[in-house]
């Protein structure tokens, strides 16, 4: 055992862990942060989009030196069938602002920068060190962690679990359940390298402008899932993810889906001639509000992906992670400043703070969405995209058929496929879940 003790141990150096460690260290607490990867970011996988607002709350002037790729000026939503896509595009020059709202980033680079800020604030950051177990006293209060290093037990007043979606530490200690296949998605992505000017020409960008394409439809083969294409400076991040439970039930493979997505006629020209330099896979918490575990306990709090804090509807995660990490730290600071012990009762203010933030309010709004999407995935990801595509093509193809006839054909195809009651049911269910 190491004789040295810390005020707080933060397990994990992703967005949530770094936000927590930075906030704690800035307030003068003695912080130890453990990261199993070779360096912060080496094991962290995300698309990735950075939301400036939540980072500004932690590092106000991050734009000065953070490794940012492109600020987003355009968003495209694609509803795809096997040969087409129907798109909704939004682009605005307003996004070319002095302090842009969203950026693409490369996590391996960004997290290193973020960690440097944590170190500068005074936290001790240990990489290549895996926390293997939570140490608990006779009353079950968490008093520190065991690590995979020799003499690797360290005591602390409280532990912040920012260990990511798998949450092995919390699971092992029995403070949370393992995520189930219906609450996590498996996403795979590739980094396609292309010359800067090629990317800018293909996506109609200039300078540091960036663009996001989010795609759903038959690319997920009836499973709940989405594809994405993000532009970085000199590479395109392209991936697809689906619910793990659906991979199990359909027997589809993640690389099979990715391959189909890449060969789709709408996608292939965008990445033509690129060099793939990186392939990554990651689990994403998709259970929403109802899958959120207990957030605090005797001597511990859980933040970020480990707490299932991910808004699948809006593809937001890192901002929820940063905010939950910051709020957990602020809660701990409050308890500490009162000189009070890190008991569950005292740490419960973390949940109160989180409940009042956009994090829980957004997740609560969509609490019924995961179940709806998971249960009726074939309707939403297979049938409707095909029907929409068919209707669009029918509408656009000029072949002498009277327009009224065309409208009737389209309507009929919807009714034939889903029936009036089915269509109404889907609409009502969707409206209810969205509310």
């Amino acid at each position: 055992m190491t004789a040295e003790t810390f005020d707080i141990i933060v397990v994990g150096a992703g967005m949530a862990g770094n936000a927590a460690a930075l906030t704690l260290a800035k307030h003068g607490l003695k912080v130890l942060q453990l990261e199993r990867g070779e360096y912060p970011g080496s094991k962290n996988v995300q698309g990735a989009i950075l939301y400036a607002d939540m980072l500004e709350a932690l590092v106000a002037n991050f734009r000065q030196d953070a490794p940012l790729e492109r600020h987003l000026v355009e968003q495209r939503f694609w509803m795809m069938d096997d040969r087409s896509h129907t798109g909704l595009h939004y682009r605005s020059d307003d996004f070319n602002e002095e302090r842009p709202n969203r950026y693409t980033i490369i996590r391996a680079q960004f997290d290193r920068w973020f960690s440097q800020k944590v170190r500068e604030a005074g936290a001790t950051v240990l990489c290549e060190t895996t926390a293997t177990e939570l140490m608990q006293d006779a009353n079950g209060k968490v008093v520190g962690v065991r690590t995979d290093r020799a003499d690797g037990e360290i005591h602390a007043g409280a532990v912040v679990l920012a260990e990511g979606v798998n949450g092995l530490l919390g699971t092992r200690a029995g403070v949370r359940k393992r995520p189930t296949p219906d609450t996590v998605a498996l996403a795979v992505k590739e980094m396609h390298f292309l010359p800067r000017e090629v990317i800018e020409a293909r996506f109609n960008l200039k300078g540091d402008e960036g663009l996001v394409i989010e795609a759903a439809g038959t690319i997920s083969r009836g499973m709940t899932g989405m594809g994405f294409i993000y532009t970085n400076k000199e590479c395109i991040s392209l991936g697809i993810g689906c619910l793990v439970a659906h991979f199990t039930s359909t027997g589809e493979t993640p690389y099979g889906l990715l391959d189909r997505f890449k060969r789709h006629p709408s996608v292939a020209p965008l990445i033509e001639g690129s060099e793939v330099k990186e392939y990554a896979a990651h689990l994403i918490p998709e259970g929403g509000f109802k899958a959120i575990p207990q957030l605090y306990g005797e001597g511990w709090v859980v933040v970020g992906d480990a707490a299932q804090l991910n808004n699948a509807m809006h593809r937001e995660g890192s901002n929820l992670a940063m905010t939950s990490g910051r709020l957990a730290a602020e809660a701990i600071i409050q308890v500490k400043s009162r000189g009070a012990p890190m008991t569950a009762t005292n740490l419960s203010i973390y949940k109160t703070m989180l409940d009042h933030s956009f994090v829980i309010r957004d997740l609560r709004k969509y609490k019924d969405m995961p179940a709806l999407m998971h249960t009726y995935s074939r309707n939403f990801f297979l049938t409707y995209p095909e029907l929409v595509s068919e209707s669009m093509q029918n509408f656009l193809r000029v072949d002498g058929t009277p327009k009224a006839e065309k409208e009737k054909q389209s309507l009929n195809s919807f009714v034939k496929s889903r029936s009036w009651s089915g269509l109404l049911g889907d609409a009502v269910r969707l409206a209810r879940a969205w509310r």
Binding site: A150, D151, G152
Partner: protein, 280 residues
């Protein structure tokens, strides 16, 4: 006992790419590692320290980012780290490198005691010269034991060291007097995982950063590019070979199929062999 290990931060050669147009090595974005051979040297030093007591100093020359490698060495258990970093050192070949390192080792000697053994890896994976170890030995007047596979004995009273040195076609058992310089072969040991106390110490340790002047360099013209007689004339990627592998379907006569395939590609060979056969 004072053990000094020279390490080098090198690009991870497994991930190096050559720019297709300019033919230069693209270092940007290539992860850096401690030269793998140096890790065998470091572990050998740590083992001797654990056995005989004393301390291990690691020394490197490189850009400020080489601090990462030194911190890693501290995590493994080294006691002290020194970084020689100065723009005057840039562009050094092995002659200029050994000048800078030897000068720094003299400064380390006066500050922390003369090293009993100086360790290096047998060579680096980026330069592959294997000259720096022997160069340091020459400049400091140390006995040198290169390509050491094993340190079999160390006698601190008699001040002798016994080693197994790999040479062409065999192993030499050598004994020499301390102080000396040892260059370690690969696969002689495995670098340890530092204990928690080492990791904590390394995370907070201050790494000594010396400029040329602070290291005690009195003749700047022997440093860096100016002190390097080696001139890199050209860097190029070997041209991709045109030959393609051919799959021979396994049939009843695989040897015949193979020979025929070879003769198809090299008709001259068939004629040559036929002539030879006639000769016998």
């Amino acid at each position: 006992m004072h053990l000094l290990v020279c390490i080098k931060q090198v690009p991870d050669s497994g991930q190096i790419r050559v720019h297709p147009v300019t033919n230069t090595i693209m270092r940007q974005g290539v992860p850096t590692i401690i030269n793998p051979y140096d890790l065998f040297a470091l572990e050998a030093a740590l083992e001797l320290r654990d056995q005989f007591g004393g301390e291990v100093t690691v020394l490197t020359m490189g850009p400020p980012s080489a601090e990462d490698s030194l911190r890693k060495a501290l995590t493994f258990g080294a006691d002290r780290a020194v970084l020689l970093t100065d723009r005057f050192f840039a562009g050094a070949d092995t002659l200029a490198t050994t000048y800078a390192l030897a000068t720094a080792i003299r400064r380390i000697s006066s500050e922390f005691g003369a090293p009993d053994i100086v360790f290096t890896g047998k060579q680096t994976i980026d330069g592959d010269t294997a000259q720096v170890g022997p160069g340091i030995a020459k400049r400091l007047g140390l006995f040198q034991l290169t390509y050491v596979g094993k340190i079999s004995a160390l006698d601190l009273h008699a001040r002798t060291i016994d080693v197994e040195r790999r040479s062409e076609g065999g192993v030499q058992l050598l004994r020499t007097r301390l102080p000396c310089l040892v260059t370690m072969l690969e696969a002689t040991n495995q670098i340890r995982r530092g204990a928690m106390a080492d990791a904590l110490r390394a995370a907070r340790a201050t790494i000594l950063k010396w400029s040329a002047q602070q290291a005690g360099v009195d003749d700047i013209s022997q440093c860096g590019l100016r002190g390097s007689p080696t001139v890199v004339k050209r860097v190029f990627a070997p041209a991709a070979r045109n030959e393609k592998a051919t799959m021979i379907e396994p049939d009843e006569q695989p040897a015949e199929a193979l020979i025929n395939a070879i003769f198809r590609c090299r008709p001259a060979l068939e004629i040559e062999l036929a002539a030879l056969a006639r000769g016998y």
